[in-house]
């Protein structure tokens, strides 16, 4: 199958892809998007745009992706199942395609309890696996979930998330296999700090041959401080920060934790480059986008290859 996006081309050609992430503003100021995008342009192959992450209302992912396209950046549109039913989802997929968006990351979505509108009614008409299946059916069969024909099928590169550190651990790889079977062509994992556990998970994934059926990209989030490390360890589901890492940040000395956090991120990327079955790094430096160029450069990932369209 011919690649529909730069991200797909790089991965399908066997390269090590790099993606970034951008959280849209809690308002209409497009300038915010432009500023964040400036840091990432040319440093990564594509930029994920979050979809009302943590159930906090932000500028929509589809609109922000369109803005990125205008800035010459390839977006990965994240789409959650929390806020839209299958009618709106399929409609947005058609619209996204019409705007030139070609990468979609299919997610369940954080429960609205965590956001700024906990009294909202949620949707979850579909779950992430059914969403992956929906996009694949739209693309490959040119049909909606209802079975009706689509007048002009959307051609998307389909991605999904994976959570190696959530429970039940033994079941996670089987669920990943379900996502791949449903049509996930690339996977971005939750941020990795516990390399031993991640290696174990990759081993289980390779045992099922998943590394040959999909492109796994490891999630990397540089730690800014001991406080951030502890917060993520205790409050973010699916994120496991080993105590040794927290100790390392503490030992770096006053004011030096951020630098150490970046060093850890770079080391992790370098590990990932060598790990069998890992085809890329997904760098989530949320509200710290300015650090991405440095990380990418020091990890030996520059220049990003140009892709023949």
């Amino acid at each position: 199958m011919k690649a529909v996006s730069r991200l797909q081309q790089i991965l399908d050609d066997g390269g090590f892809a790099v993606t970034g992430e951008l959280g849209p503003p809690k308002g209409c100021d497009v300038e915010v998007v432009r500023c964040k995008a400036e840091h990432l342009k040319g440093m990564v192959d594509a930029v994920n745009v979050t979809d009302n992450q943590t159930a906090v209302v932000r500028m929509s992912s589809i609109a922000t992706c369109a803005i990125l396209l205008n800035l010459g950046i390839e977006p990965v549109m994240q789409m959650v199942c929390r806020d839209r039913n299958r009618i709106a989802i399929q409609s947005d997929i058609l619209g996204a395609h019409g705007l030139g968006i070609r990468n979609i990351l299919c997610l369940t979505g954080d429960h609205q309890h965590f956001g700024n509108h906990p009294q909202a009614k949620n949707v979850f008409d579909l779950d992430s696996i059914q969403l992956i299946q929906t996009v694949k059916t739209m693309r490959n069969e040119g049909k909606f979930v209802s079975g009706d024909d689509i007048e002009g099928a959307p051609n998307m590169f389909i991605g999904a998330a994976a959570s190696p550190f959530s429970d039940p651990f033994e079941f996670r790889v089987r669920r990943l296999a379900k996502k791949v079977a449903a049509g996930a062509q690339f996977i971005q994992t939750q941020c990795v700090y516990d390399l031993d556990k991640f290696r174990k998970w990759m081993e289980m994934a390779r045992d099922l041959g998943l590394h040959e059926k999909t492109h796994i990209m490891a999630g990397i989030t540089p730690l800014k401080s001991v406080g951030m490390a502890r917060y993520m360890k205790n409050n973010v589901a699916g994120v496991d920060v080993p105590d040794a890492l927290i100790q390392r940040l503490r030992s770096a000395g006053k004011g030096k934790a951020a630098e150490e956090g970046i060093a850890i991120a770079i080391e992790t990327i370098q590990e990932m480059k060598e790990m069998e079955g890992v085809h890329g790094a997904h760098i989530m430096a949320i509200e710290w986008e300015e650090k991405v160029p440095g990380i990418v450069e020091r990890a030996g990932l520059l220049p990003r290859e140009s892709v023949k369209n």
């Binding site: 429960h111 059914q130 959530s166 429970d167 669920r175 379900k178």
Partner: protein
């Protein structure tokens, strides 16, 4: 059964403020079992309201019926209802509406908030168990309902928010339904069933599809 809970007194007080003679009616079915609106709770409610309105000259009387959701059980109440200015129903939302349909000329106030279909986990603790989705798939998930017991009603769970068998939405109080399903099916040796992708649910059989009815013509008069 249907699980409900007594409304805050302040709210009930506002409802009854302008009335003088109030009949408190309990229900002998679900709300007795979940200790929210049975005969005992109706008595307690009347006693409490007596204290609330102590310096007003209100008059509270109490009765209880087998089930407030069926007109046959409400017929004997007619005299008492007519002798009062209003009724405080201690039944679930179904009972309140049946009372209101039976006695349209008398205000029927809900004394409870109806919550869910569930069961007791221990005395004094009731948990949501069934969502009434209209299309039961319990045989596919080891007898544990993901629609009612997964915070996101996932059919191909769990999501990334499952940690130590708890749901991240409220880890103290909510178990991850998919962890429970996984454990149950692992023990039963039926985990392979979970490798199948469950397709999108047909929600038209649920409350989302519109107001539902069930008919059995063979028993209609």
């Amino acid at each position: 059964m249907i699980v409900a809970e007594r409304k805050p007194i302040a709210e009930i007080r506002q409802m009854l403020e302008s009335h003088r003679k109030i009949l408190v009616v309990g229900c002998g079915a679900c709300v007795t079992v979940c200790m929210a609106g049975g005969e005992r709770e109706a008595e307690l409610m009347a006693a409490t309201l007596d204290l609330v309105f102590r310096n007003d000259s209100k008059c509270f009387s109490v009765d209880c019926v087998e089930r407030q959701c069926e007109p046959e059980f409400l017929d004997p109440l007619t005299g008492k209802v007519n002798a009062n200015d209003c009724v405080l129903s201690m039944a679930c939302g179904v009972g309140v509406q049946t009372m209101a349909a039976q006695f349209p000329h008398v205000p029927i106030y809900p004394g409870l908030n109806t919550h869910f279909m569930g069961r007791p986990l221990e005395q004094g603790l009731w948990s949501e168990t069934c969502a009434g989705c209209g299309n039961c798939i319990l045989y596919k998930t080891g007898g544990i309902c993901p629609i009612a017991r997964c915070s996101k009603s996932l059919l191909n769970g769990p999501c990334g928010g499952s940690v130590n068998g708890r749901c991240e939405v409220d880890p103290d109080n909510i178990e991850c339904a998919w962890q429970l399903i996984y454990d149950r099916m692992k023990e039963a040796g039926t985990l392979d069933l979970l490798d199948e992708i469950m397709p999108p649910k047909d929600w038209s059989d649920s409350a989302h599809g519109g107001v539902r009815r069930v008919v059995r013509e063979d028993v209609m008069l």
